[in-house]
Symmetry: C2
Subunit: 90 residues, 2 copies
Amino acid sequence: MQKRKTLENRDPLLQAVATRIRALREGKGIAQEVFAYEAGIDRSYYGGIERGKYSPTAINLAKIAVALDVEVGELFPGREELVVLLTSHN
Amino acid sequence: MQKRKTLENRDPLLQAVATRIRALREGKGIAQEVFAYEAGIDRSYYGGIERGKYSPTAINLAKIAVALDVEVGELFPGREELVVLLTSHN
DNA sequence: CTGTGACTCTTAGTCCGTA
DNA sequence: CTACGGACTAAGAGTCACA
């Protein structure tokens, strides 16, 4: 995938997405544990997503967006920012 | 992941995303080969995405959206349709 | 120009447990 | 309630060759 080191993923794009997801979940005042269950994904893995550790697939992004009751697009930064995030590193 | 059959991915959500991506690319009148190169991903792998074979990760979705010059959200169906697609199968 | 099979390697994703 | 680690399985990432 993103030829990355096995430990500690610090991809800025993932961090941006992670932060948005966490903010939306906390906005609903619901715990990771409960939210992950509702979204139908593992709590441990979901926690990793909020920490920017994983690059969730289209299907899981859709599950999360639905559970958060928002559009998938709201989980990502805008086009302009994406360009920066994608070119700022690898 | 999606506790699904090992061969032939026919997830309706992936098909929906795949169709949108293909339509957008063709709208630009550009070949898979050229587009994949611009997006920085392998031609063969990219072809698989357009066939709904893979559930691309957040990072690849971002690369594709940027190359298509659209928002990531435009690659996904709206919330209402997502609910249907996510519950219509597994 | 695109679809696929085959293959290798890495990561997504699950499950358990502990601080 | 959240972070994180280990162990493991399934699937994505990436490349080639050929129809």
